[in-house]
Every structure is written in C-alpha cells, then in structure tokens.
Amino acid sequence: MNRIIIEPGKTEKNYWLDIWRFRELLFILSWRDIKVRYRQTKLGIAWAILRPMLTMGILLLVFNRFVGLNTPNGQPYAIFVFAAQLPWMFFATALSDASNSIIANERLITKVYFPRIIIPLSSVATSLVDFLISMFLLFGLLAYYGVEPTWRLLMLPVFFLLVLLAAMGAGLFVAALNVQYRDFRYIVPFIVQFGLYLSPVGYSISRVPEAWRPLFSLNPIVGIIDGFRWAITGESVILMQLPFWISIGVIVCFLFLGVYQFRRMERSFADLI
C-alpha cells in the first residue's frame, strides 16, 4: 500500500506518477469537452471544418486579393496560408481554453483531488481534435490544387510537437495565474487577437526586414510556422537559422516556466479560486 505524506509546502514526491495514474481522466475530460462543445448546435461537428475554412478564406481575400501578396515559389496562396494557420489556430484555441480551464472546473478543484495539471492538459488535448480535422482539410486542399506531398511532410510531427509544447507551456502558465489574477481573462483574448497579425499567417516571414527577424521570432509561433510551411510547401525563410532557434528557446523557457508556476500555485488553487 502506498503511503502518502502531506506536509505544508512540501511538493509531492510521486507527482508525475500520479499523473500517469490519472491519465484516463485526462482523456475523459477532453472527451467531455468535445462531446459538449457542439451540443445544441445545428451544424454540429461541421463547425470544426467551417471555422478553419472561413478563416483561410478571409486571410486569402485580404492578403492575396486586396493587398496583392503572392507566394515566393509560386505555390497556391491557399495552401501557403493554411500551412501557417494549422499551428496558429491550434495554439490560439489551446491557449484560450487552457487559460480558462481551471476556473471553468472550479467545482472539481474544490471537491475532488487529482493532479490539477490534468485539467489544462485536457484542454490542450481537446484542441488536438480540431487540429486533426484541419489536417484532413490540408490533404483535401493539396489534392484540390494538385500539389504533391513530399518527404518533408514526414517532418511535420516534429514541428507539431513544438507547437504542442508551446501551447502547454503558455497554457499552464496562464491557467495558474488566472486563478489568482483574473486579469488574464482579458489579456488572453487580446494576445490571440493581435497574435494573428504578429504571426506570419497571412504573409511570408520574408516580408519582415532581416534585422527585425530575431526580435520577431521572440513570438515562438514564428519559428513553428516556418517549419510547417517548409514541411508543406517547401518554402522556408528562417529554418535552422538564428531566429528559428530563438523561437525554440522561447518555447523551452515557457515550458519550464509554465510547469514551475503551475506546480507552485496548484496547491493553493482550492483556497484561491
């Protein structure tokens, strides 16, 4: 029989083991969120297809038709936009859902024990479903425009792992702080809103002056988008260069910061919420 010792301020010894033990709960909570998300909607799961398609349509209209931007290597602009939209939308939904997740599950926090980290992680997992649906759309687009996938596509999981880590790091960080400082309820939508413009979703990174690129890449999504574009369309601007590594560095920092902040605060969630 395992013996648990609880003392003030002492961190759990078998914390990560506990998360493993509660892994089913992680899936169940995401399953709940997915099931509930489209209840009582007329279009139901079709929203998961409509949302990315509409976003792409608008970005295409604005940047390609109105502004007159084109892809450097002559690839269809739709695919160029969609390749960047994949990680961006995943990051944006995962971050907003995760940041609200602890507060939204207040009842669970104050009535039952389980490793709290399960809650924001399950929000991230929920966003994964939208991402997978978007991946199918990508293949549809590739087929529609007659673009042949290359071996580079095999690298996509690596870049996906990066955006997953980025969403987890930022999500954990904000989710924890949001419990005590509800300010983040206002900050996160703001980040998501202007992040779309500060990330090269509708335009190419090559449009950003070279001297600015290291600074620009402090936004971790910049490096990830370059990776996605490279894997899908073959075009890369900063891959394996300094700005790319800056993005990776920011992701790693945020991941550590997020886990650290979350673990530091989670013991007092029930008292603070």
């Binding site: 609880i6 003030p8 089913e24 209840r39 009842r107 039952v112 024990y113 389980f114 400082y181």
Partner: protein, 408 residues
C-alpha cells in the same frame, strides 16, 4: 487492531481573509488596483498592505488523531468547527498550514453529490465521467456499470441528458456511482442530506456493506446524528478547530449533545462575509419580555430574533427556518420574505413538547441559490411540568402537542 491508515499530527489550517477582496468577477478598475497593489507589495516588501485589512483565521489547530484500517469514524462538531476543512485536507484538496498527515492507500472523497456531472451529457455518459473523476478506472466502471444502473433505478433514462432529470433522479444516479467506489479510505461529507429517506437508507446500507465486508475505512461528517450512529463506531468531536474528544461514537455523540444544550442561545457567524447580499448578523432566542432565555415552559411562547445584514435587495430573498429536535430531526419549518433587518419568529405555546431544540436557518432565493446558512445553532429546551402528559413520566409522547378533539 489493524494498522494506522490515517495519522494526523498537529494539523492546522490558516485562512487569510481580506476584507476588501471581492469574489467572482472583478471589474477592470479593481483588477488594476489589485495589480498596482501587488506590484507595490513586491517592490516595497510587505509594507503596503495596510489599506486592506487582513485577518487570519485558524479553521483547524493542533489536531492529532489516528485512524485504523477498517474504522468508521464520524466527525461531529458545530458549524465552523473545522469538519469540512479537515475532510478537505484528508482528501488532498487543500494543503495544511502546519503539521503532518500520513495516509495509506487510495483516498476517495465524496464532498458533494454529483461532482463533475455535466448536465448536457446523458446518464450513461455521466456514469463514466463521474466515475473517472472520483478515481475509478474505465475498466472498473465497465465492470460495475450494470450494478450502478440497478442501484440508481434510472434505467429508462440512461440515454437522456441529465438536465432533463428530476432532482431526485439526479441524486440517485450520482450516489449510485459514488456508492460503488472502492477506495481504501472513503471520505464523506454531509451528502446524505439530499435525497429521499428510503434512498438514504439504501446508501447507508451500501456504505455499511463496504466497511463490513471489505474492511475499508470511512470518515463521515453529518449533522444527522442517527445516521452517524448507525454507520460509525468511533467519533471525533471538533470544537472551534480543535479536537475536543475522540473515542467510541456513543460517548462522542453524548458529549456533543450535552455540550450543545444551554451553551449558545445567541448565534453570531464566526466571520461575517461582507460580500453577501443578505447575511446573518445575529440570531437569538428570547422570551416574550425580550430577555435571552434558553429554557421555556411548554406554556411559553418562544421567540427567535433574526438580525440580518441587508446589503442588496435586488432579488426576492427569503428566510427559511427549521426547528430541529435533539436528534436533529426537522420538527417544522417557517419561511418569510426578507424585508427588514430584524424579524421575529414566534413559536406558539402548547406546541413543542419537552426536549432540546435548535435552529437550522438559511437565506435563499427559493430553488435558485442559498446564500447564507446557520446550521444547528441556538440551542434551547422546553420543559414540561404540569401538562396533561407529564404524569406519564419519561414516556416518549411524540414531538409536538397535537391539535385534536375527542368526539363522543
């Protein structure tokens, strides 16, 4: 017998109450002010907190006790004695501020019926969801699924969203899931108070089974003394956050009941929440001359004086009062709209028979929300000398004087 499964040493829990802190949605102005404050605090150290009165409140202090494997322990104590805080620490929802707690084995806590139920999901789906939240594996739930459904008796509605359930059905289903938990230590708070009497009995029986057959350990908090006495063999009596006594349940309940009488004819909340739209300020028991009294003759009228703090009157709040007998059974109820900050409930003479009584009162919007509660407060007793029944000595002649006539 058996070995220690719970070992608490000098447990304490401190809460800090900020009097200007607001709960729920903060406005932007407050958020900014709070931010400036927290930045200032970081810059100046701890210097600049004087504007916000901070009060320390010990919900639990110096609490040490052991629980052996297979024990069923009832925890009694008045409101604010720290029972729920203790359960929260044992179920690892909140951490103690001082002391040390050792737990052996899997702990499952049942602090609320239907925690995590999602109203949009069907009964079937909620069984899996709730089970997982309470710590069951999917395999375990699958195995017990039929048993759970059977126990709940909501079989026909399994594929209906829970939001269409009646509250009775909801409670049955929620309890059915919880009753099939098989942890090493089960922690149960006042959850049996909901649901109908027959179902409550079924749940108690099930819990009894669990301990007797499998030697599991149960910690049980309830104001309903008969069910504590039925289920538990040992007791812990908390008073103002400290351990008053522990031992065999009969002794503890006796101590609790004897201590409850003649002590508090006046109730004032331990810490008043200034955020509440309407809250209790003070409840007292007086006689017809407005003198505080704890003893009445059956011929006396009994007055309960409620002082309320009314801060907002946006909603139709109402005051609900129940008179409890010494077994904490509800004798009768009275309700009134909250209009004035002082209101008096007068209990008729020739109504309550001899015995000890207390009050359970709450302020609520009927069927919507309960905003403040005073549980089991203001003990008083009714003496009976000279009534038509008194010549029967100690014979138990009911709860109230009946209103009847013999027609010849």
């Amino acid at each position: 017998m058996g070995n220690n499964v719970i070992k608490a040493e000098n447990l304490g829990k401190k809460y800090q109450i900020f009097h200007q802190k607001k709960q729920g949605a903060n406005t932007l102005g407050e958020t900014v002010a709070k931010n400036i404050k927290s930045v200032g605090k970081r810059v100046l150290g701890r210097a600049s907190t004087s504007n916000f009165t901070k009060e320390e409140f010990w919900a639990l202090q110096d609490l040490s006790f052991d629980v052996n494997e297979g024990d069923t322990v009832g925890i009694v104590g008045k409101n604010g004695a720290g029972k729920s805080t203790l359960l929260k620490i044992i179920s690892r929802i909140t951490e103690p501020s001082t002391g040390r707690l050792e737990l052996s084995g899997r702990v499952a806590s049942l602090l609320e019926v239907g925690t995590g139920f999602h109203t949009e999901l069907t009964g079937r789906e909620n069984i899996y969801l709730n089970g997982a939240i309470l710590g069951m594996s999917q395999f375990e739930i699958k195995q017990k699924f039929d048993e759970i459904v059977d126990f709940s008796g909501v079989e026909q509605f399994l594929d209906t969203p829970v939001k269409r359930y009646s509250s009775g059905m909801f409670v049955r289903l929620a309890f059915a899931v919880a009753a099939h938990l098989e942890p090493d230590i089960l922690v149960v708070d006042e959850v049996l108070a909901v649901g109908d009497a027959e179902f409550q009995k079924k749940c108690l029986g099930k819990m009894d089974d669990i301990t007797r057959k499998d030697g599991r350990t149960i910690l049980f908090v309830s104001h309903h003394l008969p069910s504590i006495m039925q289920l538990c063999k040992k007791g812990i009596y908390l008073e103002k956050g400290r351990l008053r006594s522990s031992g065999p349940i009969d002794d503890i309940v006796e101590d609790y009941l004897s201590n409850g009488v003649n002590v508090d004819t006046v109730f004032e909340p331990l810490h008043k929440d200034n955020q509440l739209a309407v809250g209790f300020e003070r409840i007292e028991i007086v006689d017809q001359e407005d003198k505080p009294t704890a003893e009445f003759y059956y011929k006396d009228k009994i007055r309960l004086k409620f002082h309320l703090a009314i801060r907002q009157v946006k909603h139709p709040y109402s005051l609900f009062v129940m008179i409890l007998d010494s077994f904490k059974r509800r004798v009768f109820a009275a309700e009134t709209a909250v209009l004035k900050s002082e209101t008096i409930l007068e209990i008729a003479d020739h109504f309550l028979i001899r015995g000890n009584y207390s009050i359970h009162a709450f302020i609520h919007i009927p069927q919507v929300i309960q905003i403040d509660v005073a549980e089991d407060v203001c003990q008083f007793s009714v003496l009976d000398s000279g009534s038509e029944f008194s010549r029967n000595g100690n014979y138990d002649y009911g709860v109230v004087f009946g209103k009847y006539e013999w027609i010849n």
